[in-house]
């Protein structure tokens, strides 16, 4: 009984679950379109596609069976042929056919029989305009005949030509004859001025040279390619060295004072040398940037002061991100300074550039302070009160970082609430924490 009950229950549950299953698929199939599987439909985002998709169910169907097609064996002529050849072929009953009579229209492929209109000259014209020491009349006639037959396919013509002439020679003769005839026949020179051969006559020597050069490039062996590349790289290196020599000269002049400082510091024991060494690369990198900009400016024979300033600003902005650059510009505005000086003299531009650099330094320092702060907080784990010195600093920071430092304020609030490092905006503190633990 229990078993039955259990079974009954089971049975009940089964049918119910089965029902569920049964009810669910029909519902689903109502939602999804038939023809494509559910998964594929989900790929499109569960929405019907904008373009009508191919109805897959249609693909499996058999093509529509029309009524029986009858065919007729009928004669036809081809207008493209010059002889009067009558041939026969099957014509389906789809095309309108009156018993035995040909379907209307020409042989459908006749229209593809295109040919080039080759000019025809008379003997008189030949005597007057076309004589050439290199060509006999027979040869010229033969050439034109072949041109007609082979639709100006000169490679074939050259092959078929009785005496051995190169493709360029044949082309040259054909085009010069064509040109001469056109010029002779034209009523005025203006009529044919637009004809391609008149505008750009065939240039044999140029063509031969071009083909020769092309074949040379194509037939270059791999070794030659490598050698050419090497030569180009060498040339580039020499050019860069020339620029570099200018740059090092410039940076030598610019960093001359620093070099002196370095020399004196060498006398002092080791520790002081390292900070100066550390400092020097930091100094050199920005001055190298500027030095190369200055060098490139000197290469111009003339330039505008505003252009020079733009280039220098770009060079100093090169290491900064877009956000930083925006912050610099905001700071300039807040300080009441024009983003582009109104009176860009040499002194003004120099001051402007220095100001920008100083603002960048300031922003970097702000970041460093924030960083240090976050470091400090990750150690503290939310308990503030114990740290004696920091409250003072805390009050300092919002003050000085008011210039575009709203984020810092928010950071403070978050930390006070949860004691966890700030989330989305600052990835650095989190990383710091992980590495420390």
């Amino acid at each position: 009984m229990d078993a039955k009950d259990i079974l009954g229950l089971h049975k009940n549950s089964f049918p119910s679950s089965l029902d569920n299953k049964k009810s669910r698929p029909p519902k689903e199939s109502q939602r999804k379109p038939d023809g494509i599987s559910r998964e594929v439909y989900a790929l499109t985002g569960g929405m019907p596609p904008l373009m009508p998709s191919i109805d897959a169910s249609q693909l499996k169907k058999k093509p529509p069976t029309h009524e029986k097609v009858t065919w007729q064996w009928l004669p036809f002529t081809n207008s493209a042929r010059k002889d009067d050849l009558h041939l026969y072929h099957w014509v389906s009953h789809n095309v309108r056919v009156v018993n035995g009579v040909l379907p209307t229209g020409d042989y459908s492929f006749a229209k593809y029989n295109k040919s080039v209109d080759i000019i025809k000259y008379t003997d008189e014209e030949y005597e007057k305009y076309l004589t050439d020491p290199m060509w006999t009349k027979e040869e010229t006639n033969e050439l034109f005949d072949l041109c007609e037959r082979f639709d100006l396919r000169f490679v074939v013509i050259a092959d078929r030509f009785p005496s051995s002439r190169t493709v360029e020679e044949l082309k040259d003769r054909y085009y010069s004859v064509l040109r001469a005839i056109l010029l002779a026949r034209a009523a005025s020179s203006g009529d044919i001025a637009t004809h391609p051969i008149i505008k750009e006559p065939y240039n044999v020597s140029q063509e031969m040279e071009r083909k020769r050069a092309l074949s040379m490039v194509l037939s270059q062996t791999r070794q030659q390619e490598k050698r050419d590349e090497e030569v180009l790289i060498e040339a580039k290196r020499i050019a860069e060295l020339r620029m570099a020599s200018k740059v090092t000269e410039q940076s030598q002049l610019a960093v001359a004072s620093n070099a002196d400082a370095e020399l004196t510091e060498r006398a002092v024991p080791g520790e002081t040398v390292s900070p100066s060494n550390v400092q020097l690369p930091q100094m050199v990198v920005p001055s190298a940037d500027n030095a190369s900009t200055l060098a490139s400016l000197r290469m111009l024979r003339v330039y505008l002061r505003t252009y020079a300033l733009e280039q220098m600003v770009q060079a100093s902005n090169a290491t900064a991100g877009v956000r930083t650059i925006k912050r610099v510009e905001q700071t300039l505005q807040d300080l009441g300074v024009n983003l582009k000086p109104r009176v860009p003299t040499k002194a003004v531009c120099a001051e402007h550039l220095e100001l920008r650099r100083e603002i960048l330094t300031w922003l970097n320092l702000q970041k460093q302070v924030q960083y240090k702060e976050a470091e400090g907080s990750s150690f503290r784990d939310g308990s503030y009160g114990e740290t004696p010195g920091t409250p003072k600093d805390r009050t300092f920071i919002p003050d000085s970082l008011n210039f575009g430092g709203e984020r810092v304020g928010k950071k403070d609030q978050k930390r006070k609430g949860h004691g966890a490092p700030p989330t989305a905006a600052h990835k650095r503190p989190r990383k710091q924490k992980a590495s420390d633990l």
Binding site: Y303, L335, A347, L365
Partner: protein, 275 residues
Amino acid sequence: MSQSQTLPLKRHQDENPRDDDSSDIKPSRLKISLPSEDSDKKILIKRVKDVEICVPIVYGTIAFFLGRKASESQSHKWTVYVRGASNEDLSAVVKRVVFQLHPSFNNPTRVVESPPFEISECGWGEFEIAITLFFHSDACEKQLDLYHHLKLYPEDESGPQNTKRPVVIESYNEVVFPEPSEAFLARVQNHPAVVVPRLPDGLNLPSPVPVEPMNDKERGDTKDHPLNHWFLNFSEADELLKLAAARQQVQAHIVKLRRQLTLMEGLPQSKQPSG
């Protein structure tokens, strides 16, 4: 490899360009360069290194509303010009100026061969004017392009326009010649329109060869120009003051932050968790 730019050859340096460490730190004053255009003539132009001369210029437009005389197609009379910043004669440096006007004007390319370098026209529309400066051959073979937007209508559209008050838009800029040729420098070193820094000692310049004067008038300066009381004043003093003040502020902030950093550096170490 062919270089389209000039090939600088330093007098005192070796042929081998890699020899940088051994080269003398004192750069040679004079540099010989081959101009790109005269490759067949092979004329050597002696250029003076480390002497940068500049020509301060002002360019812009002055537009008058024509008032009663205005018509649909000609509501304003305007002048576009390039002048020396202190109204000195630019023709010692500038050979000619080409103003490219809107294509709706007759002959939109206006060439001015002598000072004052300006074009006056009547019209109704605002557009960008391209101004190209061409210099004398001893100064520079290349041209310099400037762009200026012609403004006819004043910023504040309060009330009808005054025929007596023009809309003046001027821009200050400086044309810099980083390494002038000896001939150019000799010619302009005492010219009021050109700013020449203190020349190094021992510099021997050739005697100046004057360029053919293109002016039919005697004076090319704009000191007595009919519109000169509308010219704006550009003094670097104000800007320099502002910049200096801004720099001071920023430097103060930097000092404060540096101090903070050193203070903060002491603290975390004492708070380091054990284990």
